[in-house]
Symmetry: C2
Subunit: 435 residues, 2 copies
C-alpha cells in the first residue's frame, strides 16, 4: 500500500533522498564496461559493432544486413494495424505543429557607427536517434525524437535500434521512423550503437547529437561520448507528481499515478495534496485499480518503493515540494490550475486540470515526452527545437566603430597580460595600414 | 615558421586530425584523479575542500576565510586602475545589452476545444561561475559568465576561484565579479571547486549549473558532475581561423592569428585563403610580429605546431574547410563578408570584415567569449541567455478536447503494452466520473 507522509507542521521526510537515490549516474561498474565498448567501437568500427551485436543481441549480422532496407520498411506497414498507422500520423502532426511553434530566427541588431551584432541559428547536420528494442519498443519515442529534428531542418536523421533474434525490428518502430522522416536505420543497440554514432564507423555515420531513451548501458555510453558529440540528457526512471486539492477526482488521480508506476519498478508516483480525504481515497483507489492492472507487479513494486502521498498545509507548500523534487511530469488537479502555475519552478511537463492526464502528453498533445528526470528539471528542459539547432555569434565593426572603442579594448587586453590581443587592435591604426 | 598547405586540385591534409588530437577529452589518468577528488568533496564537504586547497594551492585556509568578504571587495577597488574599472563597466553594459536581446518569453497557443499548449521559461535558481586563478586570471571571463546569468534572472550567482599563496584573489577579478552582480565568492579552485558547487558543502551552495573556463582538472571535473548539475561545455584550447581573399590586409591577419596563438601552446591559428600572395605575405608578417611579441615563446610554439596557412581554390572551398574544422573564432576578411556568411555552418563567433578583429569579441562587443572549441561548434553554441533558463511544457485539455482524441491515445498506449496509460484516459469517461 502506498505510504502517506504528513508534512504539515514543519515536518520533513527522507522521501527526497530516497528519490534521489534512483539516479542513473552511480553505476561505476557499468561505466567501466561501457568505456571499454566505446573504445573498441571507436577503434575497430563495424567489426566491433557486429561482435557486440552477436554477443548481446544474439544475432549474427553481416555488414550488408546492418542497415534496414526499403523493403523491410514496406513490409512493416503490412504488419501494423492500419488504425495505428493513422494514429501515428496524427500524433506526428501534433508533435510537428507544437515544435514548429518553437522556431527561433537568426537575428541581428544594427548599432551606432555601422556596428552589427547578432546570432545566426543553424540546424545540426546529422542527428542520431537511439530507440530501445525488446519489450520497451516505443514508436511514440521515435516520433518525439525524430520529428523535432526534422522540423529544425536537420539534414540527416540516423536511427539505431537493436534487432530481435530474428534479425528484425519491431514493425511499429519502423513505421513511426518512416512517418517521422528518419533517413537511415541501423540494427545495432546498446553502448555499441551510441559509440558508432559518436565516432562513426565504415557503415554508420558520425552524428552531431544523440537523442533518445535507453537502458543504463545506453545512458552511460551517452555520458561517455558527451563532448565528442552532444547528447539530449541522461534519462532516469519515470516520475509523476500530482498536486491535488479537494476538487480533484481520486479515481483519476490514482489512474494517473499508476500510468507512470507501470513503466518501471524504479518509477516514482507521488501525490501531494492539501486534503486528507483525497489522500485516503486515492490510497484506497490505488489498491483497487492495481488489482486489475496488467502490469500490476511492476506498478505495485514501484508504488510501494517510490510512491507516496504527501499531505501539506497549502498549495504554496505543495509547490515547495514540487520544486524540491523537480518531477518529470506534474499534474495540477486543483480548482484553479493556472493560478497554481505561478509557484511552480521545476517540472518537465505540467498538465493543468482534471482532464489533462499525463498519457495525453506521452502520445498525442504535441509537447515532447522526452523530459528531464531525477530532479534535473532544475536545470534541463524537455527535448525541444533548440536541441537541434546551434548558434553562432555575429560581430561586424567598421573602422570608425573600432576606433571609438580601441583604447578600451587595448587597456582591458593589456591588463590581462595579452599583448598580442592589444596588438591586433593597434596594427589597424598604424600609419599606412588604412587599406 | 607557419606551414603552408595547398589544398587546391582535390588534395587533402592531415591537419584536420592533428587539430582534433588537441581535444581535452582524452585524459583518462587525470579523470581518475579528478573522480577521487569529486567523491571526497561530495562525502566530506568543507573538510575535503580545505584539504585540497592546502595541497594544491599551498594555502591553509580556515572555514571562516573561505568566503570573500565585503571588505576584500572594497579593497580590491583601491588596487585596480580606475580606468580599468570604467572599461569593465562599459564592457559589462555591452554584454548586458547583447544578452538582453536574447530574451525569450514563455508562450502558449490556444487551440480548438479549449486546448492550451505552451512552454514556460524560468531562470535557473543558482548558478556557479568558475574563474581560473594564477597567470590566467581573466576578469573578462567573469563578466562573460556572470552577466548573462544576471540578465536571465538567476537568483544567486556563486563564484569560485583559487586563492593565491597570500590567500588573496586578483583584485580585477573581484571588481569584475562585483560589477557583474556575483552574489557570493569562495576561495577554492580546481576539481574541488567544481565538486563543491555540484553537490554543495556546509559553506558552499549547491548550484544548478557550472559555467566558466578552467584547466584540464576543472574540465574533467565538470564532465564528472554533468548530470548532477548542468555545465556549459568542456572547453579546449583557443582557436582562430581567418578566411581571407586578396582584399585582406596581411598585417591585420597576422596580428589576429597571433592574438589566439599567445593564449596557449595548444592554441590553433589557421588562415584559409584564395590568394597565394596573401599566404606568403602573412607568413612573412607572422615572423616579423612574433619577433617582438611579449609571449612569443607560447605563440611561436602554437603557430609551429597547430598553425597553418591553407590555400584553396575558392571561397566555397574555404567554407568547406571552416565547416570541417568548426573553429571557435572565425574572421571573414573578404570583400563581401556578409555574402560569405551563407556558406558558414560551423563556427562559434564570426567576425565580419577587416575591422572586426577577434579581441573585440573577447572584451567588448557584447557577444559571449565563452565559445565552443575543438570542433564542437558543430553542435554547441556560444554561452548565451538560454544557458541560464530552463523550459517546462504546458498542456491543458478540457473534457471535450480529451474526449475527441481519447480513442487515439488509448490505441497508441495499448499498442505499446501500457494498459495503465490507456486506463488513465478510460476512467475519465466511465459512468458517474464526470465530476
Amino acid at each position: 500500500m502506498i505510504k502517506i507522509i504528513d508534512l504539515r507542521c514543519g515536518k520533513d521526510s527522507d522521501i527526497f533522498e530516497n528519490l534521489a537515490s534512483r539516479s542513473q549516474l552511480e553505476y561505476r561498474d557499468v561505466l567501466d564496461r561501457v568505456e571499454e565498448i566505446v573504445a573498441n567501437v571507436r577503434r575497430n568500427g563495424d567489426k566491433a559493432v557486429l561482435e557486440y551485436t552477436a554477443m548481446f543481441d544474439k544475432v549474427q549480422l553481416t555488414l550488408g544486413k546492418l542497415r534496414v532496407t526499403e523493403k523491410e520498411i514496406k513490409e512493416a506497414y503490412t504488419k501494423v494495424d492500419p488504425k495505428l498507422v493513422e494514429v501515428i500520423k496524427r500524433s506526428r502532426d501534433n508533435i510537428w505543429n507544437f515544435h514548429e511553434k518553437q522556431k527561433e530566427k537568426s537575428w541581428f541588431s544594427t548599432e551606432k557607427e555601422g556596428v552589427i551584432v547578432g546570432q545566426l541559428y543553424r540546424p545540426l547536420e546529422v542527428v542520431g536517434v537511439y530507440v530501445p528494442g525488446g519489450t520497451a519498443a516505443y514508436p511514440s519515442s521515435v516520433l518525439m525524437c525524430a520529428v523535432p529534428a526534422k522540423v529544425a531542418g536537420v539534414s540527416k536523421i540516423v536511427m539505431t535500434t537493436p534487432p530481435g533474434k530474428d534479425e528484425k525490428i519491431n514493425p511499429a518502430i519502423l513505421v513511426a521512423a518512416n512517418e517521422a522522416g528518419v533517413d537511415e536505420i541501423y540494427k545495432v543497440g546498446g553502448a555499441q550503437a551510441v559509440a558508432a554514432q559518436a565516432f562513426g564507423t565504415e557503415t554508420i555515420p558520425k552524428v552531431d547529437k544523440i537523442v533518445g531513451p535507453g537502458n543504463i548501458y545506453v545512458a552511460m555510453a551517452k555520458r561517455t561520448v558527451y563532448g565528442y558529440c552532444d547528447i539530449d540528457m541522461i534519462a532516469g526512471p519515470s516520475e509523476i507528481m500530482v498536486v491535488a486539492d479537494e476538487t480533484a477526482n481520486p479515481v483519476f488521480v490514482a489512474a494517473d499515478l499508476l500510468s507512470q508506476a507501470e513503466h518501471d519498478i524504479l518509477a516514482s508516483s507521488i501525490l501531494v495534496t492539501t486534503s486528507e480525504d483525497i489522500a485516503k481515497e486515492v490510497q484506497r483507489e490505488l489498491e483497487a485499480q492495481l488489482a486489475v492492472l496488467e502490469r500490476k507487479e511492476i506498478a505495485g513494486k514501484s508504488i510501494a518503493d517510490y510512491g507516496a502521498i504527501i499531505i501539506v498545509e497549502s498549495l504554496k507548500d505543495a509547490a515547495t515540494v514540487v520544486n524540491r523534487i523537480a518531477p518529470e511530469h506534474l499534474e495540477l488537479c486543483v480548482k484553479d490550475p493556472f493560478a497554481a502555475l505561478g509557484d511552480i519552478k521545476n517540472a518537465g511537463a505540467i498538465f493543468l486540470g482534471n482532464y489533462s492526464t499525463e498519457p495525453l502528453g506521452d502520445y498525442f498533445a504535441g509537447p515532447n515526452h522526452v523530459l528531464p528526470t531525477s530532479g534535473t528539471a532544475r536545470f534541463f528542459s524537455p527535448l525541444n527545437l533548440s536541441d537541434f539547432m546551434k548558434k553562432s555569434s555575429i560581430i561586424s565593426y567598421t573602422r570608425d566603430a573600432l576606433q571609438k572603442v580601441k583604447d578600451d579594448v587595448i587597456l582591458f587586453a593589456e591588463s590581462e597580460g595579452l599583448g598580442a590581443h592589444a596588438n591586433a587592435i593597434r596594427v589597424r591604426f598604424q600609419d599606412g595600414q588604412d587599406k
